[in-house]
């Protein structure tokens, strides 16, 4: 087991692009080897040791045995955990955009809030956001046909608009409210929203959306199919989006 502890040396103003912070990149590396890895502060390359106090305990053969602990809030550090295949990242505070993008495995836990595109295009693994998430939880990149394809994202607070846009698989749980158009254009996967939302499931062709709170406006593209019980709770089941011949299932109370 290898534990890498990163303590930010300052509250960064300009966001740091740090796609290098992954268990895969850190596995088996010493403090010095990790310290010389390059992140970008805007246009300026910065060795990680300039940005963080780095401590490495133990060693690991592969990503699965690596735990990265970021001690402190990093609301201006982007792309943490990008493409990781295993291991754990624990962020003790907020995190910037695209955390866990293209993630394949492992677990990221964010004790604070996550900025937009958390879990963008992820295919596996798990992300837990203890606070709120901004826009595009588990969504895709502009123009891609699929956002999230697998894995699980749980947001314990609220999420903003476009949760799971273009989602093709996996699961997103929002314990609080979600903004407009969750699950827009999705082709698979499951979204559960415990709180309120607006216009869920537009252009959904496949997949499931369950809304336990209120829906401000239901899209006028869903065929009502009757009442169905999920885990002991009764929901109205809708199927659509009928315009696109969708077979998506939308459960609303």
């Amino acid at each position: 087991m290898q534990t890498v502890t990163l303590v930010p040396k300052e509250q960064f103003k300009i966001s740091i692009e740090a796609e290098l912070i992954t268990p895969d990149n850190f596995a088996g590396k010493s403090n010095t080897e990790i310290g010389v890895l390059i992140a970008y502060e805007g246009n300026t390359p910065r060795p990680l040791s300039e940005l963080f106090d780095i401590k490495v305990d133990g060693s690991a053969e592969g990503a699965d045995d690596v735990k990265i602990e970021i001690k402190g809030s990093v609301p201006r550090v982007k792309r943490i955990g990008e493409g990781m295949t295993g291991g754990r990242i624990l962020i003790d505070g907020d995190v910037d955009m695209r955390c866990g993008a293209k993630m394949k495995g492992g677990i990221i836990t964010i004790n604070g809030n996550a900025d937009s595109w958390v879990g963008q295009e992820m295919t596996g693994g798990e992300i837990n956001v203890q606070g709120d998430a901004a826009y595009y939880v588990g969504a895709g990149y502009r123009g891609e046909s699929c956002g999230m394809r697998g894995g699980k994202i749980t947001v314990f607070g609220n999420a903003n608009d476009f949760v799971g846009e273009h989602m093709c698989g996996g699961e997103i749980i929002i314990k609080g409210n979600a903004g407009i158009l969750p699950g827009v254009s999705n082709k698979g996967g499951k979204i559960v929203i415990y709180g309120n939302t607006d216009m869920p499931g537009s252009e959904m062709t496949k997949g499931t959306i369950i809304v336990k709170g209120k829906v401000a406006d239901l899209m006028p593209v869903y065929q009502r199919e009757g009442i169905e019980s999920i885990d002991g709770e009764e929901f109205i089941k809708y199927v659509g989006d009928v315009i696109v011949g969708g077979k998506g299932e939308l459960f609303v109370r």
Binding site: S116, A134, Y135, Y136, N160, D161, F162
Partner: protein
């Protein structure tokens, strides 16, 4: 008395004519006003030329009133420009575009004067 309204901003011919003349009184006249219908104006007891104070979650601005009967009840319009910008929503909604339209606002009569363009900008330095 306050009017709860939906705020939108947008282009006008006169605002366009003065795009390269923004230090002028003409630009103030073209972009520094708030439009609503006469019913709404009556609700808060203002007449054309009176100043109104527009307040949103994002700021406050004082501008003179104009009447436009094309506006439905509860819809106010301020031409795009520094006066509108004082109250628009800066959140870009994940797509780069701030909220220039569809913002909840309160409008009330006021005795305060409307700021000039340089005065508005000075607040931001």
């Amino acid at each position: 008395m306050k009017l709860n309204a939906t705020f939108i901003s947008g282009r006008t011919v006169d605002q366009g004519c003065n795009l390269e003349n923004k230090t002028s009184q003409a630009y103030f006249n073209a972009a520094g006003y708030c439009e609503m219908n006469s019913t709404d104006a009556g609700k808060i007891g203002v007449e054309p030329g009176n100043n109104v104070k527009v307040t949103t979650d994002f700021g406050t601005v004082v501008v003179p009133l104009k009447i436009c009967e094309g506006n439905p009840d509860g819809l106010i319009f301020v031409p795009m420009g520094p006066w509108a910008n004082a109250v628009v929503d800066p959140d870009t909604k994940g797509c780069g575009m701030p909220g220039f339209k569809g913002i909840q606002a309160e409008v009330e009569a006021t005795g305060e004067t409307a700021p000039t363009m340089p005065e508005l900008m000075d607040r931001l330095k």
